[in-house]
């Protein structure tokens, strides 16, 4: 049994990100043995000829389709990893030009926005900071990696298209 292959198969089959602890639980390997193997898988997938990336998010590790291929394969997989509500929050955060006050997003989305913001923060796509009485939302590097574009580029695209 090849340990790296075992990790890869677990990441392939799971529909959720897998934490180090979970991976250790499934594979029976110690976490400090898993980490370098994941690093190896990650580096291998960075090659141009690979279609997925191994990404580490606050929720754990997961394979993600590289951004440049998503448009083409969209029809094959109806399940997206972000719900419409979460996506709207994200889009608003970009469009309103980050850093954005939490209250500005709530103005558009209503009270549901609080929970969306929390979820997005858990996923590592945004981070929030407290400024006196209000929370300010910033986009993360993870966000840029997710869309394969810088926040500035995205802003420009949203301005033109929306």
């Amino acid at each position: 049994m090849n340990k790296k292959a075992l990790l890869e198969s677990a990441l392939f089959v799971s529909d959720k990100p897998l934490s180090l602890a979970k991976l250790a639980d499934i594979t029976g390997l110690p976490q400090d043995e898993i980490k370098p193997l994941l690093e190896k898988i990650k580096v291998e997938h960075e090659k141009d000829e690979k279609g997925m990336d191994l990404v580490e998010t606050p929720e754990g590790y997961e394979f993600r389709i590289k951004p440049q291929y998503r448009d083409k394969i969209v029809k094959l997989a109806p399940m997206a990893d972000l719900s419409e509500g979460l996506l709207r929050t994200l889009a608003l955060a970009v469009a309103l030009k980050p850093p954005v006050k939490q209250s500005s997003i709530v103005r558009y989305q209503g009270n549901k926005a609080y929970s969306y913001i929390e979820q997005l923060e858990k996923k590592g796509l945004i981070k929030t900071e407290k400024f006196s009485r209000t929370k300010v939302i910033k986009l993360t590097e993870e966000f840029e990696k997710y869309f394969g574009k810088s926040v500035d580029e995205l802003k420009r695209i949203l301005e033109v298209k929306a």
Binding site: F12, V13, A77, R88, A95, L158
Partner: protein, 246 residues
């Protein structure tokens, strides 16, 4: 359905082979029915199961969909048998009664419970990441929702014929403004308590509301405290403490 007994040695093995070879299990059922001398009723489910288990043990690489197909084929055959049973329901009432009390009616009907246990298909639920196009369309929807909301407010305002002041203005801004006004008035009057009426420009419903709501917010935030001796009496506002605010 006629229950014609036809000797069909190894029929179950043939069926199993078909299950494995044919991609869809419908084909298997068609195949069974299509077997010239084989009535589906005559398929021995126990034997089919045994063949399957034997097969499962012998292969190294088991396609997870095969057990799923086996369950369906068995389920359909069971259905055929159940129909057959119901034809004789009246005569076999006692039989059915007995069966109801049985722990394992499946076994009673000739289905090995292990077959069912084998039957869970392991399917991935692959999730993909969203595309830029989806992000853009989400923004459009968010903006549309906002526009519709504004439209509704406009209509409502029209209906109520009340000019709700500064509805769109951020409450944060309104409370900050109000706090400044309170501070200013206190300094001007050299008082540490002022009357709510003193900061309302004009004693009209909308003007009162314009100040009353931010006052409640300020009170809730602990910036001021307000007191009123009795209903409809004067409301007195004081700064809560000489806070280290700002």
């Amino acid at each position: 359905m006629k229950a014609k007994q036809v000797e069909q040695p190894k029929a179950e093995e043939d069926i199993l082979k078909t299950i494995i070879e044919k991609e869809s299990w419908e084909d298997v059922i068609y195949y069974i029915v299509g077997l010239e001398q084989l009535n589906p009723w005559d398929v021995d489910l126990t034997r089919l199961t045994e063949s399957f288990l034997k097969f499962a043990q012998s292969v190294k690489d088991l396609d997870f969909r095969i057990p799923a197909k086996v369950v369906f084929v068995a389920a359909i055959l069971l259905r055929l048998k159940a129909d057959y049973l119901s034809i004789f329901e009246e005569e076999e009432d006692d039989e059915v009664e007995k069966m109801l009390k049985e722990e394992k009616p499946f076994a009673e009907l000739g289905i090995d419970p292990n077959l069912v246990q084998l039957g869970y298909p392991m399917r991935r639920v692959p999730k993909r990441q969203v595309t830029l196009e989806e992000l853009i369309s989400a923004l459009r929807s968010a903006l549309e929702v906002r526009e519709r909301k504004e439209e509704r407010v406009k209509v409502l305002r029209g209906q109520l014929n009340v000019n709700l002041p500064h509805e769109e203005e951020d409450m944060t801004i309104r409370t900050e403004k109000m706090l400044k006004e309170i501070d200013g008035l206190m300094q001007k009057l050299h008082q540490d308590k002022i009357e709510f009426g003193q900061i309302v420009k004009e004693w009209k419903r909308d003007k009162v509301i314009e100040k009353f709501i931010p006052m409640l917010h300020l009170e809730h935030d602990g910036k001021i405290s307000s007191e009123q001796e009795d209903f409809f009496k004067k409301i007195l506002i004081s700064k809560k403490t000489l806070q280290s605010k700002n």
